[in-house]
């Protein structure tokens, strides 16, 4: 689990304030909010790319606030998936395991197992530029999950997918989470992702954490209603 306490991050004029945020073991937290409010800053701080001004980040009872990224046990999937272009899909997935110095056989077993789970066995020898956006997303997931991170951090992981693939990916992520039970923080602008995937939804506005609510309550809150507007506008076209 991850606990964030009295976190203040300052980047020039921008300030992010998170008084308290908890994500229990196996929980799936979706973070929402307008663009530029600090959602990415939050997960970059959690993973250790940005040093907070104040506060603490506790992962499984250990304060990791001053630990470098490689010692935090958190894995990140950025918006563009961040696959290593010079490595095959297999080598991308095996990267974290090789860093840990595991034996060749053990690495092979783990890579093939996660590839089977994510249904990407057929593309292991391909390179990132040779596979589709949906496949890239699964490879990024595989690469992050294979190292068994304490928390998986995802920055708008489905935003570059077309609507059909996005719905398929939501289903896929939902099933995967149910099966593997990993702890996740998922940033999105998409209400459907929040409702389908989130155990809870955190909403950030103007650099401040406004609420953490279960999805059904979030959609009825004043912050959730903002997202409903778009749906209501679409609905207008369906009803006429």
């Amino acid at each position: 689990m991850i606990v964030i306490k009295d976190l203040i991050v300052k980047l020039k004029e921008f300030k992010l304030v998170i008084p308290e945020l908890r994500v229990g073991r196996g929980e799936y937290l979706v973070v929402m909010g307008p663009s530029g409010v600090g959602k990415t800053v939050l997960i970059h701080t959690l993973v250790g790319f940005i040093k907070p001004l104040r506060g603490s980040i506790i992962v499984d009872g250990r304060d990791v606030t001053n630990e470098p990224p490689e010692r935090r046990g958190l894995a990140l999937i950025p918006q563009d998936y961040g696959l290593f272009p010079h490595m095959s899909v297999y080598d991308n997935i095996a990267y974290g395991l090789r860093i840990r110095g595991l034996s060749k056989d053990l690495i092979d077993g783990k890579v093939r197992e996660v590839a089977r789970t994510l249904e990407i066995e057929g593309i292991l020898s391909k390179y990132p530029h040779e596979i589709s956006g949906g496949e890239q997303q699964r490879v990024a997931l595989a690469r992050a999950l294979v190292v068994e991170p304490k928390v998986l951090l995802m920055d708008e992981p489905l935003s570059s997918l077309d609507p059909r693939l996005r719905i398929k990916s939501i289903e896929f992520l939902k099933n995967l989470h149910r099966r593997l039970g990993f702890t996740a923080i998922h940033i999105t602008h998409n209400l459907l992702e929040a409702l389908e995937l989130g155990d809870e939804v955190a909403y950030i506005e103007g650099g401040e954490l406004m609420c953490v609510l279960p999805p059904r309550e979030f959609i009825r809150s004043r912050w959730g209603r903002e997202y409903l507007r778009e749906l209501l506008m679409i609905n207008k076209y369906l009803s006429t």
């Binding site: 490689e70 990140l76 990267y95 974290g96 860093i99 190292v147």
Partner: protein, 266 residues
């Protein structure tokens, strides 16, 4: 031919080709002239038949290739850390350091030679240090290497830096979140992704080192490099003899750079 070059595209390409042809012609004609107007008799004499001349020429050629190679390898090893720091960090005085790095590009070659002499020469600023290390630069092989490194450093550092800058820092950060140390993230992600830029930097820097003569004349007239010998023979024996030893230099350079470019493309 791609769709970009449809009828109107081809017309535009033709217009561009006029300017491009003028430039290519301007660059190629001197090379053709060098080969066309060389005297085979003199060339045979100085390169093969006359032992005294031939030994002078080939020893100068070896000195040039060895010194430029040493300068390039040394610079390569030292430029990678500097280029990485410049590409990834921001600090006070960075612009000043960048200006110092690029200075050898702007100053006359003779001045560069004088500066090397004043810094590391027998009576230079760091004379005691170089003496205690057993390194002399005045009229030595290491003097030539120092000059070549000084004049080609900006090309090496700037080209590698551009290569590092073209690799997204996010990739390194992801590698770190997957457990890699900063050094491991650099060697497994940024370095392999910049390999093309690094090879290009080495080729360009080597080319620059190979062509240096002005600063070498000031710091190390001896052991003679082929460039110094060309100037000396031009002054002493005239154009025919200078051309005779310029041809193999151009041929060797052309062959080496072509091979490297082909290897790099693969």
């Amino acid at each position: 031919m791609s769709r970009l070059w449809d009828r109107s595209g081809r017309a535009f390409l033709l217009t561009l080709s006029v300017g491009a042809s003028i430039l290519i012609t301007f660059l190629v004609i001197p090379i053709i002239a060098l080969f066309a107007l060389s005297d085979l008799g003199v060339m045979g004499k100085v390169l093969i038949t006359n032992e005294e001349y031939a030994s002078l020429v080939w020893s100068a050629m070896a000195t040039t290739l060895l010194a430029s190679g040493t300068s390039t390898v040394t610079l390569l090893i030292l430029s990678i850390p500097l280029a990485y720091i410049l590409a990834r960090t921001d600090f006070r005085g960075k612009s000043l350091i960048e200006a110092f790095i690029d200075l050898p590009l702007m100053i006359p070659h003779a001045v560069a030679g004088i500066m090397i002499l004043l810094a590391y020469g027998g009576r230079g600023l760091l004379a005691n240090l170089t003496r205690s290390l057993g390194i002399a630069i005045c009229n030595t092989f290491w003097g030539i290497v120092a000059v070549m490194a000084f004049v080609s450093a900006p090309i090496m550092i700037d080209t590698i830096r551009v290569g590092f800058e073209s690799v997204s820092p996010t990739l390194e950060l992801i590698a770190r979140s997957l457990g890699a140390s900063p050094a491991k993230a650099f060697t497994t992600v940024t370095l392999p992704l910049s390999i093309k830029a690094i090879c290009t930097a080495a080729i360009l820097s080597w080319a620059r080192a190979l062509s240096e003569v002005g600063a070498i004349l000031i710091v190390a007239y001896y052991p003679k490099t082929i460039n110094v010998l060309i100037i000396e023979w031009f002054m002493t024996y005239g154009l025919k003899y200078a051309v005779a030893i310029s041809v193999p230099l151009v041929l060797i350079s052309l062959a080496l750079f072509t091979i490297l470019k082909v290897v790099l493309k693969k």
